[in-house]
Amino acid sequence: MTEESPKKSRLDPEPIARRDFLGLSALFAAASTLFFALLGMLKLPKTAVLSSPSKKFPVVLPDSLATGEAFIPQGRSVAVFRDEKGVYAISTICTHLGCVVKNNPEGFECPCHGSRFSVDGTVTKGPAPRPLPWLKVTRNGDKWLVDETTIVTPGTKAT
């Protein structure tokens, strides 16, 4: 058949008798399948559940806790206070870059970049863009349930 071939040179384009629909659709199917698989694979690294302890946790306040004195539950970045109006919790995670702020009688102080917060969490100095958030506290028998995921307006106190 080669002798009768209409082709003159191997450098000429192949004569395309018809568009190769079969080849194109096969390629398209393969590409879209692989793309779909890629999407599925990209989903994998996005962790569905976090291995950190639950963000809602109970706190038992010691009877000796004085007004304005912070109670820091072990392993938590939350300061729980009690005064005559009730119990409230302030997050001790700096709103600047996430360091844990230290509690002192004047309020809170961040060791990383020098942000200062007053006792109610408002920024008094430094780069922190927002006040320390107040967290939702609910009463559960003789325990207090602190919910780190729910932020309440400052001044909200649970009784």
Partner: protein
């Protein structure tokens, strides 16, 4: 750059503007230097201009593209490897290689990682498929006598790849840290230690203890613990895949350097009339050398051959390869959807799994190990590996290359050898299962005798003798090789089936798992 003519008259800012507009096209030109691959030249440069494609030669023989030539087994193996590679990397996002924690992370992957279970199933199935096809691929290469000159070295590469594939699979087996994993690896590590059986029997262990050394290197401790897990992990995700990828590169590169896939001398005439949309080359005279004649010595494998029915690899070969890849993907995802990878209870070093079975492809060996750890686990496999490696150097005949069951004896020998290959292990196993072995008959027998005279060695010996008989009868090494290879394949099959389906707790023979005693 269509604006070239007016370039001189344009201000700098305008030129900058033009360049900016032409950016996409210009960029495309730098990335893909050849145009649409629709001529032989552009197709060629499409292949050799691409890092990933240039392992292929630019033209592929039509014989290689026939489905019956390779059945795509090599490509399936490669595709399965790529799939395990990708899924394996994904699993590493969540897997934590430390005892107990590893098991919990497997549970996480199974239950809460998005797509985690599916990915793990694919990983597991692709690994199994890889083991199956790498064995079948070797059988294909053997039966088409594709190992012959000039492909001897590539045959050795293939054997190395087979060994590494099995090692990859085995090291991955420990990682889930469940009962199955723990006890399979405990047994595996003790098989690695089994040269001690020999040195013990000879009273040499206190002077030289290769078995103990291998085991220590493998486990990093005296039992399967955190050290062993991290070592297996390192082997599984790093060392072995790197070696495998490297050897695969060599293997592929040698295919090209050895002149493509093996094919019969009269391949052209057997192909008959070629389809009209292919472009055979060298219709006039075989004058090409591919190599720079003045610089490189020697002949290319193609010199001296007649006109060849080759087609451009782009797109013909790539369609075939892509098709096989997608076919493998389809098989893997389907199996992954239907069947979950096993995960038993957490590894418990004080309660052995009974029976503790290795992955299925090792159950033939485990069956042999039940007679002698050294012979079954080290001796026979070593002999088989050496035997396989020697084949191309001993069989230097030329007839039948590239043809299924080609060479002296051919299909006839294969049929006879299949019978012998099945009958011998069944017969020996029947004796061993019904009447026991030397130890049961003469309890005082020294270990050295049991090590050298047991069903494993007897089966091997029977195969070897049969093969020598074939060499004499057909007056051909190829006939002997055909017989021996077929026998070993059949032996592997029989022993694997016995190990998988007919061995229960305490490695006792049972007709069916339903008869196993319930502990």
């Amino acid at each position: 750059m269509s604006t070239n003519t007016t370039n001189q008259n344009r201000s700098g800012l305008e030129k900058f503007w033009d360049n900016l507009r032409a950016l996409p096209e210009y960029f495309r030109g730098t990335a893909f230097r050849t145009g649409v691959p629709n001529t032989d030249r552009t197709r060629s440069s499409f292949v050799f201009g691409n890092l990933f494609l240039h392992l292929h030669s630019v033209r592929t023989h039509l014989w290689s593209l026939k489905w019956s030539t390779t059945m795509g087994l090599g490509i399936i193996t490669t595709a399965a490897f790529l799939i395990t590679l990708i899924t394996g990397v994904l699993l590493m996002f969540y897997y934590k290689p430390y005892p107990d924690v590893a098991y919990l992370s497997m549970k996480d992957i199974h239950f809460v990682v998005p797509t985690g279970r599916f990915i793990r199933n694919i990983h597991r199935w692709a690994a199994n498929i890889m083991v199956v096809t790498v064995i079948l691929h070797m059988a294909r290469a053997f039966y088409t006598a594709a190992y012959r000159k000039p492909r001897e070295f590539n045959w050795l590469m293939g054997i190395a790849l087979l060994a590494i594939t099995l090692a990859m699979s085995f090291t991955g087996y420990l990682l889930p840290w469940d009962q199955l994993a723990y006890w399979a690896i405990t047994i595996g590590a003790n098989i690695a230690q089994s040269p001690r059986e020999l040195t013990d029997a000879l009273g040499l262990t206190e002077y030289i203890d290769p078995g103990g050394l291998i085991r220590l290197l493998l486990l990093g401790s005296d039992n399967v613990g955190p050290e062993a897990l991290i070592r297996f992990y390192l082997l599984h995700i790093m060392i072995l895949p790197l070696i495998l990828a490297m050897l695969m590169g060599v293997h592929f590169w040698r295919i090209r350097k050895d002149g493509g896939l093996a094919r019969p001398v009269d391949a052209e005439s057997r192909l008959g009339v070629l389809p009209t949309n292919t472009y055979p080359v060298f219709t006039q005279a075989p004058a090409k050398t591919y190599q720079l004649a003045a610089v490189v010595k020697g002949r290319t494998p193609l010199v001296g051959r007649g006109p060849e029915s080759t087609v451009p690899s782009m797109p013909h070969l790539f369609y075939a390869e892509l098709a096989v890849l997608m076919f493998t993907v389809f098989i893997c995802v389907t199996l992954a959807l239907i069947s979950d990878a096993p995960l038993k209870e957490l590894a418990n070093p004080s309660v052995p799994e009974n029976p503790a079975k290795a992955p299925w492809y090792f159950l033939g060996l485990q069956e042999l190990v039940s007679f002698s750890a050294f012979m079954g686990g080290i001796g026979i496999p070593t002999i088989v590996m050496i035997g396989l490696g020697l084949i191309p150097f001993l069989d230097r005949e030329e007839n039948g290359t590239g043809e299924w069951f080609g060479g002296t004896g051919g299909l006839d020998v294969v049929k006879r050898a299949t019978f012998i290959g099945l009958a011998v292990p069944i017969f020996i196993e029947t004796i061993a299962i019904s009447f026991g072995w030397i130890r049961e008959w003469f309890p005082q027998t020294p270990q050295i005798i049991v090590t050298f005279i047991n069903p494993a060695t007897i089966i091997t010996l029977a195969y070897a003798l049969y093969s020598i008989y074939l060499v004499r009868r057909y007056n051909s090494t190829r006939a002997g090789a055909l017989g021996l290879f077929t026998c070993f394949l059949c032996g592997f099959l029989v022993l694997t089936i016995i190990g998988t389906y007919f061995r229960g707790p305490n490695w006792v023979f049972y007709w069916s798992p339903l008869d196993w005693p319930k502990h």
